[in-house]
Symmetry: D2
Subunit: 293 residues, 4 copies
């Protein structure tokens, strides 16, 4: 396989103790086409911590309940700074640039907490319905270890609270945020879940969460411009598909009306994105000579 | 037409004296499909100052001569700050975030000056070939008036020179930059020129400038993530097409393998983008229910 | 009195609920000369929340136990930004610019917590000894209300912890920080306490805390350059004495080898310093035609 | 002499070609007391480029003609960032933090250009009168070489012009700024000139420039808080005297009503201040056990 030369490059996220135990050489990939076929290789059925990919599901829930009013709480512009930067947040008086930065996702967490009756279960049910796997679970141990060492996210959450951008108790928001990040999914499950975003001709309705076709397309646009921290431009340039990465080493991406694809490899580059995952997707669109551009 | 309610919103660019004289209520639009049809309305044949849209043509020339090595001189990430911000440039030691910010375009100007035998004419010949209009001209008066009051761009150019990012004399770079910004084109000509980027199945070769299909697609990806200053996310969200705007009130956009479209209306929003232009393109993709997402 | 025209200007700190209850029109002032005289007017014996003035006492304790090694934990340069800015802290990787910004004082709190056997009592005993008032007390209610709404300081403390600048538990540091800020003293007591900094020919030794004459003079230099948030230059320019202000409306200042002076008036200007307090000290040095410059 | 161990530390300013030719091991020092005595050692009579020390003379001229109205054009707070930072200037819309940063001194240059009949000669006459040396001269070669490579200052001047903070032509301001920086003085002459600031009981009136005693004291306060770029706090802490440094390796400082002192050694530390110069002054105030604190 063409991406083999990159198989030892990068390091997995070490700041989350529970993630540091994962074998860094695991690799899985799964592609689901809108016509119902799927192709999986290697560790495509091994579950891993989806981390920031959960922000896509959280955004879907928030957009479903808030509609366009959501954008009075969070922006939709690329951040241009590292994914956890406090500078911009302070300069812009507590309004996160987009829902995929940590600050923005903490706002999503706050919105879900105030808008759903049973947030923990409602989130889980929604993602289970999306991918069709009824036994997805949070990894409580990962969530707990992230909260214990999550000083930067705690700083961000306190700054949001200071600016009045979140309503709930800071600790409650942090707990829920780390919990949904700890969700475990396999590449096959992620690809299945993202197929709902790729195939927007099919009505989006899962466990009570509904989105219009236009809303799904707009979420895809956001993934394109903001889905890869401060490497969004690079990913767009090299791969040319909307997607979202997580520090667990996973990436999910879609080709609207064609396919969804998920890849997993724990070694990360300096920007927090999976080295092998990005390479795999770059080769996919280069070989097929097809991207959204 | 649905965008009529927005016809008096915004103000045209006043900081360029020569642009302030344009009738702010002009409106033109032209769409060219890859199968050879074109549709034009109102002032589609009136030429206006393309301003920053020229950066797309400059990038094509630079990518053609430098290839991937270009990216050692300029980044490809969205800037996340106002299009003329010096802060990021200083923080990142003189490396502009992307070729569509003013700082990045000044680097493009420097590269063209050092790589082409007759930069002023070579640029003009290239754009003339792209759109098939042999009589396109720079507006020397606009270029001159921009240089006279262009203190911010002069600050940026000096900062680039301080960091060693540009090679030529500061004044030479500024002169060339303002010259290419002053190029005058109509919507019909812009749409014709951008069709070359939309239709990347056709070999890109114009007046000696050649790009591979992959390079054209990557340029489209850059327009998507960086083409609208700090409103790139908004445009991507609302319109869902790669494109580039200019403070003259023009916007050119493409739907890869489908069509190119150019629109012109001089009134700008606070981010420097044409109010009516953005609305017109939003209605286009909403009505047709088609965007790249 | 010449400062009467300013008696209704400014607003007291409202973000600390317990402080908002204080009568904003109280005014007290006391001057103690090194030759043993003292002059007090109006509410000079009314105790108020000294808030950030406590940072001077905390610095004395830290300098006493750490000596010059203290400066590996915190800088000694003016901050140039608002007193609670997170930007600089992030840009400089968690090293606060000086001990009088909130970030720096949180580091002082951490150092006291790890260096003293009974931090709460040791701090109290030290300040009681400095001013000779054995019945000074913390206002637990103020400390509690500050912690409850102290999201910005909680953000700063978490950011310091993230960068490894503080050792103790975040909550422990915040609690101690707000506690010492809640200390209540009168102008007479503050002036008495600061006389020890003014009169550095007398050995500085109070409740086990000792400083050399050189260390006291250096603390005075720090008060001069960093004692008034982002108004340090203004205070130096207008008053010309080293000092420290607090959002409770108090200011303590010294004229080395001459006198110490404390003033209290709760109405603050936009920079968080007492309007009447600054005016009173400006008139003091203007009328006497004596400042350190 | 105690500072010998530091004699080879640091590097002289290399970015100004004409300065790079100076023997880096020169060392001179001169102290003038208000009672008329003076003490000089080594190269105290060798002239060198005073560079930023000229900003003190420029400020005196501006304060003389503008009075307190000067502060509507430039601030008086320490900058907290490197002496040439553009970030703050942009964030604060073109208002320099203080007159001793490069941005602030460019504003002083603009004010002198618009307020004096013969700026070049008026500045020269003023400094000649201050130090009593009628043959002081600019080094035209140094001024010219600085302008040629002064891209950062050109960036700052253009940014000031963009914000409307300077009135004159950008090139004119830069030329005058670099000219006054190129003034050559010896330590003996600098000490003599600064004696006028130390001895503010004597009427300040030189070549038509007059300042009140209060204005002189306020200038001293500004030197204390802002005179050493982003090392103002360090100098205040270690030396405890108001002063001003230049990248030519000179430092002039004063002890109000006691003495003025000038020292010169071309090797600079990372902050742009003379290594030996700072050490010499630190030992002076430590040995004499006297500083303004």
């Amino acid at each position: 396989m063409k991406i083999e030369p990159f198989s030892g490059v990068g390091e997995q996220a070490k700041y989350i103790p529970a993630l540091a135990k994962v074998n860094p050489d695991r690799f899985g990939m799964c592609l689901c086409s809108v016509d119902g076929n799927s192709y999986a290789i290697k560790d495509a059925d091994v579950r891993f911590s989806i981390q920031s990919i959960s922000k896509v599901f959280a955004l879907a829930m928030c957009l479903s309940v808030k509609g366009e009013a959501l954008w009075s709480r969070v922006g939709k512009e690329p951040s241009g700074t590292a994914f956890n930067s406090l500078v911009q947040l302070e300069a812009e008086h507590g309004m996160p640039r987009n829902p995929f930065m940590n600050a923005g996702a903490l706002v999503l967490a706050d919105i879900i907490l105030t808008s759903f009756a049973d947030p923990e279960n409602d989130f889980l049910s929604f993602v289970r319905a999306l991918c069709g796997s009824g036994d997805l679970e949070y990894d409580i141990e990962v969530a707990r270890s992230e909260r214990e060492t999550g000083y930067l996210n705690a700083a961000i959450a306190n700054l949001l609270k200071y600016h009045g951008t979140i309503e709930c108790d800071v600790e409650r928001v942090l707990h829920f945020y780390f919990l949904i990040c700890s969700l475990e999914m396999s590449c096959r499950e992620l690809a299945a879940a993202f197929l709902a975003f790729a195939n927007h001709n099919i009505k989006f309705e899962y466990s009570g969460i509904t989105l219009t076709s236009s809303q799904v397309k707009r979420m895809n646009a956001l993934m394109q411009t903001c889905g890869f921290y401060d490497e969004a431009g690079e990913f767009s340039y090299l791969v040319g598909l909307p997607g979202k990465s997580g520090v667990g080493g996973g990436i999910a991406a879609i080709y609207p009306l064609r396919y969804s694809v998920a890849v997993w490899s724990p070694r990360l580059n300096g920007k927090g994105n999976s080295v092998m995952g990005m390479k795999a997707l770059e080769f996919l669109t280069t070989e097929t000579e097809e991207s959204i551009f």
